[in-house]
Symmetry: C2
Subunit: 348 residues, 2 copies
């Protein structure tokens, strides 16, 4: 028998059901801005932290205890399933990931395996099970993954990139090769997320962080179909799904067709405009998440409060999950993160 | 007496007059993708090249001779007038600019001077005069400058930036300080561009490259008013003005109020949508420039031709200057740049 979640605002908002106030959490809320997180990281490297359920669960819970957010997101990295496909990953927090042998040939793509999560990434599922026990249904637990396009960008570039020149070179000179990689990734991510749901994830967020770097035509060909494939493959009765793209403004209406219940938008688009555009295009059933500029948390508490209130007003109260437009920055003072959360919570 | 420009397609397109085909040029067309440019750069460092009229004119003319573009843009850097304000600039091509003492206090802003271009940056004006002689009115000569917001981003960050955290910290905690800097920059840039016009520039492009990183609210407060101030201050009878923002999609209608004749848009927005939005908002009088993804020039010649034709079709022939959505990348093969130019030129 499933136990009810005590604070289920996030689930209700995702399905556009009434809430006393919008739920609030922050992307990358278990992160370096918290001294408690940095203390755990002193004991271990980043990848080991991802792969050690006790520690991953500990840092996942920190924002719930310290800031009182309305949801816990499991601590991990989007490249964990890519490593499990057989790529050698080096992950240094702050420096970004490095794949020493980037994908450039069909032979390399053929060699990548479709990992069984219970066998290749059991720690991710163990972290979820442990977190579900520890949270004890106080708030929902979010599981996540990177979308095929964004994962492919790291695999082809060999790490982070400014222009995505290698990826786009493949896109515009050997598109069928990239499609082959994206299709394989869609299968891997679908299996991976279904394993997370089975382990106990109560909401799912898919990050296509870099899809906003594409022209609308390229988004339609290389990102959207694979986002759709992942969402279509999820066994997710009652589990809300959230789609995030950084720089989504030019593809918002396309993004609305991914199959996600919630669109998580960045700060460059006015959330009132986003709501109006979705309603006008027949997507009034979708909820929105976001969209404070993470850099506003570097400003004064007055600016934080005013900016949060402006977003809440424009989003309209129903079908809105308050969040940042991208991950929280390491240099944010904890008291400013708290001011962000508290502004929303003080509404009731 | 002013001599007529033989190939005046760019001027005509900017003012939405009929042309036999759209004009075409490329942002950063005098650059590292050309072996002839690299040969000149071997003789000298980047800043010296900017400050030596003979050499700056030589590399400015290379794309006209080699590719047959419809306009020459004078070779320079947007940070040249900032250095003249009294900041110590180190500029290593490929690594990006470095200001070793970033602007953080009112005292520093007060110390910055309003340079007289004839006294502090005479080489920029000499380059224009020399180029006008050498071009001999075959095509128009474009002069350019960075917009106050983008220049301030380098001055406050101390160089290039991923998140613009320092700049936004100032924006959201000490906005009046940033406004003081932006206002001073608007004055400097207006004087600088007027000197370029007087020296012979026949079109002006203003680059607010990083303004697309702002929320629409922040753009309205920290970028737009200073773009407007610059355009309002230009003595520019008959000289078309072009406004460029990378990531302009969410602020296009605001950008239309800057006072520029042409909006230069990046590749993330569909140019047909941009045209429709401008027409619907009452800006049917403005022309568009762009907007091929520069990375498409890393692809096959067939993809280049197809993509160019798609943009030309959507832009509609009148009031369109064909260009990239951002600067050409150093790794582009010259024959691909030529394929881009030739696809447009083969229309007649």
């Amino acid at each position: 028998m499933t136990q009810a979640i005590q604070n289920d605002r996030l689930i209700r908002a995702a399905f556009r059901q009434p809430v006393d106030r919008p739920p609030v959490w922050m992307m990358r809320q278990a992160g370096r801005y918290l001294p408690e997180y940095r203390a755990v990281r002193k004991q271990t490297d980043f990848l080991t932290l991802c792969k050690t359920p006790d520690l991953a669960a500990e840092v996942s819970l920190q924002p719930l205890d310290i800031l009182g957010v309305d949801a816990v997101i499991m601590f991990s990295d989007i490249l964990i399933p890519v490593e499990a496909m057989g790529m050698h990953l080096e992950l240094t927090e702050g420096k970004g990931p490095v794949f020493d042998t980037p994908i450039r040939t069909e032979e390399q793509i053929d060699k990548l395996i479709i990992p069984d999560p219970t066998e290749k990434t059991p720690y991710a599922l163990d972290t979820i099970r442990l977190l579900r026990k520890q949270i004890n249904n106080a708030v929902p637990l979010i599981g996540f993954a990177g979308a095929p396009f964004t994962l492919a960008s790291y695999m082809v570039e060999g790490g982070t990139s400014k222009n995505f020149a290698e990826l786009k070179k493949m896109m515009y000179s050997a598109p069928s090769l990239l499609h082959k990689l994206l299709d394989k990734l869609a299968e891997v991510i679908t299996i991976y997320l279904n394993a997370k749901i089975e382990a106990g994830a109560q909401a799912i967020q898919l990050f296509d962080t870099w899809a906003g770097e594409l022209s609308p035509q390229a988004y339609a060909e290389f990102a959207l179909p694979y986002e759709q494939k992942v969402f279509a493959g999820l066994k997710r009765t009652g589990i809300p799904t959230i789609m995030y793209i950084n720089g989504c403004g030019n593809v918002l209406e396309q993004m609305a067709t991914t199959g996600a219940d919630v669109l998580s938008i960045d700060w460059r688009i006015d959330i009132g405009d986003a709501r109006r555009r979705l309603d006008a295009a027949g997507f009034g059933n979708l909820a929105l998440q976001g969209n404070l500029d993470p850099c506003i948390l570097l400003g004064s508490k007055e600016t934080i409060a005013t900016s949060v209130q402006e977003i809440l007003g424009k989003a309209g109260g129903v079908g809105h999950i308050m969040n940042l437009g991208h991950g929280i920055l390491p240099q944010v003072p904890v008291e400013n993160a708290k001011a962000f959360i508290d502004t929303v919570k003080n509404l009731v």
